[in-house]
């Protein structure tokens, strides 16, 4: 999809003014953090697990070439095939070629953020293949022709009324008078509509939460079981994911799985955890005839060895989104591309460029809540600051902001002048604000006073009062 991250301020204003979005976000804002908190309270070793999770991912990233090659050997040994894709374009072309070779008409899809990243659905559609999203949230937004607004709950910006509207518009074969009020009815309808598509699909595409080097397996977690039907029923299974999903062993994956669901939804474990290794073997009751893995780089390897390498630990659990007050205020679409929230604020500039996505790492109060809940301890605020450093070094900030900052910094490095000015400012503002104790508007702080009062200074700077007091006590001595 075409990014609109450069319009973040306008996107954010639209989100803030959208009453449906605000209602939906209001529910998520407390729900997710509370469920996570309850889940980790039941696991005393959670903090220790975070440390282990970080170490596992760091080790895998430090030896990425080794584990990726080992993984490929083991996929091949199991009868599967690994395809390397340097760019989104290569990944799309690879998937299309596999689908064409199979003469595919319908492709079912499990939820995959990498598929969103490379805009796979658009590409398949443009080439005469019908992609069908099978995750309920993804299915809803596919019907609405919009991108996900959250990396694990793609339709979190909607209330059930919008879902009912989308279903009525899409499922014209059903009785228009049917009641679609409660979530159960919506869920049943999606099941009914999706079931024949699962059976008709020629190819099933899923993402991967983990790739296991020692076994050549891919692992997905879902709560709907749609991933299993997507990868077992069609003749061909394509796994599409990023190169950073690799872990050395099944044991490592098990450790990370203990972190993943608790961080994401507050579940101890997702309802379905599915491990796939190669195509159907002789004697297997089910499974695909062909098993392909498309491994996407798309800028990831460029982060290795630099100040953004830690971002490659990301498990895509969404804990950072769920705890971010900025995300909770504006919603995921404001971020203007595939990955929203704090992880998106770090990843998006790396994938679409800082010129396009420069707002994202700036739109943070650096409250640090994201880092404090990250299951693999990614220092998200620190990396957002790294982007701001590049932006400053490359002179991408607005000139007014730059010169204001430089002027202030020059003053801050001249204490005598600074104290004289601070003393004067304090006196002037203190005098002007003495009757009300606050300002309802200030010309040089309009952004502040547009929405809140500015408390008036007390009237003297601390330094001037302190100096006076010191002089008095010296005189007394």
């Amino acid at each position: 999809m075409q990014p609109t991250s450069h319009s973040f301020p306008a996107n954010a204003r639209a989100g803030l003014a959208d009453p449906i979005l605000q209602t939906a976000l209001g529910l998520a804002r407390t729900g997710f953090p509370q469920r996570r908190q309850e889940a980790i309270a039941r696991l005393p070793e959670f903090e220790e697990l975070r440390e282990q999770g970080r170490a596992i991912k760091d080790h895998a990233l430090a030896n990425l070439d080794f584990y990726l090659e080992l993984y490929e050997r083991n996929v091949t040994a199991a009868g599967g095939q690994v395809h390397w894709a340097r760019t989104a374009e290569e990944a799309r072309a690879t998937v299309l070629a596999i689908c064409r070779a199979a003469n595919a008409k319908i492709v079912t899809k499990g939820k995959s953020m990498v598929a969103e990243e490379i805009a796979l659905n658009d590409h398949l559609e443009a080439n005469g293949i019908t992609p069908v999203e099978t995750d309920l949230g993804e299915y809803i937004i596919q019907l609405r022709h919009e991108p996900p607004s959250h990396i694990i709950a793609p339709a979190i910006h909607l209330m059930k009324e919008q879902v009912a509207d989308a279903f009525r518009e899409a499922h014209t074969e059903l009785d228009p008078a049917r009641p679609l009020i409660d979530p159960r009815a919506l869920c049943d309808e999606a099941r009914t509509v999706l079931r024949p598509r699962f059976l008709a699909a020629d190819v099933g595409i899923t993402g991967a939460n983990f790739l296991v080097a020692e076994t050549g397996s891919s692992i997905i977690v879902t709560n709907e079981g749609n991933g299993d039907l997507t990868q077992i029923l069609p003749r061909i299974h394509i796994v599409i994911t990023g190169i950073e999903k690799i872990v050395p062993t099944l044991e490592d994956a098990a450790t990370l799985l203990r972190l993943l669901a608790r961080s994401a939804t507050g579940q101890e474990f997702s309802s379905y955890t599915t491990i796939s290794t190669g195509p159907r073997r002789p004697g297997d009751l089910d499974g695909p005839e062909e098993y392909h893995v498309v491994l996407l780089d798309n800028g990831r390897s460029a982060l290795l060895g630099g100040e953004f390498q830690d971002m490659l630990r990301c498990l895509r659990c969404a804990a950072c989104l769920n705890h971010c007050p900025v995300y909770a205020a504006v919603g995921g679409h404001a971020y203007g591309w595939v990955y929203p929230g704090p992880m998106g604020a770090v990843l998006t500039p790396a994938l679409v460029g800082l010129g396009e996505a420069g707002h994202l790492p700036n739109a943070s109060s650096f409250c640090g809540r994201c880092e404090s809940v990250c299951p693999v301890k990614i220092p998200l605020p620190k990396m957002m600051r790294h982007w701001r450093e590049r932006e400053f070094a490359w002179r991408l900030n607005p000139p007014v902001y730059r010169s204001g900052l430089r002027l202030w910094a020059a003053l801050a490095q001249r204490p005598a002048l600074y104290h004289a000015l601070a003393g004067t400012a304090s006196r002037v503002l203190g005098w002007a604000g003495q009757l009300r104790g606050r300002f309802r508007s200030l010309p040089f702080a309009a952004g502040w006073t547009a929405v809140r009062d500015m408390p008036a200074p007390q009237g003297r700077s601390f330094q001037s009062l302190w100096t006076e007091q010191q002089r008095r006590s010296e005189r007394r001595r």
Partner: protein, 296 residues
Amino acid sequence: MPEPARAALLVTCLVDLFRPSVGFAAVKLLEQAGCTVDVPRAQTCCGQPAYNSGDRADAKAIARQIIAAFAGYDYVVAPSGSCAGMVKVHYPELFADEPAALAQAQELAARTHELVSFLVDVRGMDRVAAHWPHTAAYHDGCSGLRELGVKEQPRRLLASVEGLTLAELPGAEVCCGFGGTFCIKYPEISDKMVTDKAAEIAATGADAVLAGDLGCLLNIAGKLSRRGSSTEVRHIAEVLADMTAEVPPIGAPANPSPAPRERVASPQGEPGEGARSSRQFAPSPRPSPPVGERGF
């Protein structure tokens, strides 16, 4: 009573400009905790605005200035989790690639503390002699909470304030939307965050709100007063130092009674000070009450 110590006050630029009473409250509390207090004149700001704006060169220059200004003291104490966090956590990051400066930054970081956690964790203070008849919500400033682990210490000292009842604030750990330059760069988002915060404070039924960072407090006080709320907003240091009778709350007029220019007795009765407006804060006479009276 811990050993006497020399403490330097990192005033912070917001306290210096907006609310010197917080600085004087900090001095009083530090003296009660057995410290002699200096205020190095060569300090201005910790450099956080430059650091968080990606201006590493200016941030480093300001940090070097602070490192030099605060050399030699036993402790450096700031009435702010944000500024203390800048020195304690971020100065060493800032100089990670300069070994000599890094050693100095780490040495300063080890001596630097946020005020309330310093009083409790380092000086062993477990109660204060203060009176403040209010029901107050306490907001945890982000940097103090998540960078420095300031959570239980303010609550412990506030529990000893006579007349004070603490009201549990849901979402106390969620950012108020100040965020330094964030509130200027993204005012609508900041507004949404502080609106939610103000609503949560109102829902507690508290008639006052406290925090340990003036940035958060200016933001919260400004939003509350814009909403027409009469909730009293204060820095925790003023309450702990029992100075609430001497200064009006943040954003409130000095003296609602007539006589806007009433004479304020200057501490040592110096001539020429009488015309000062009652809004202008006058520091209480020093030295503070003898330490022994405070009994912790």
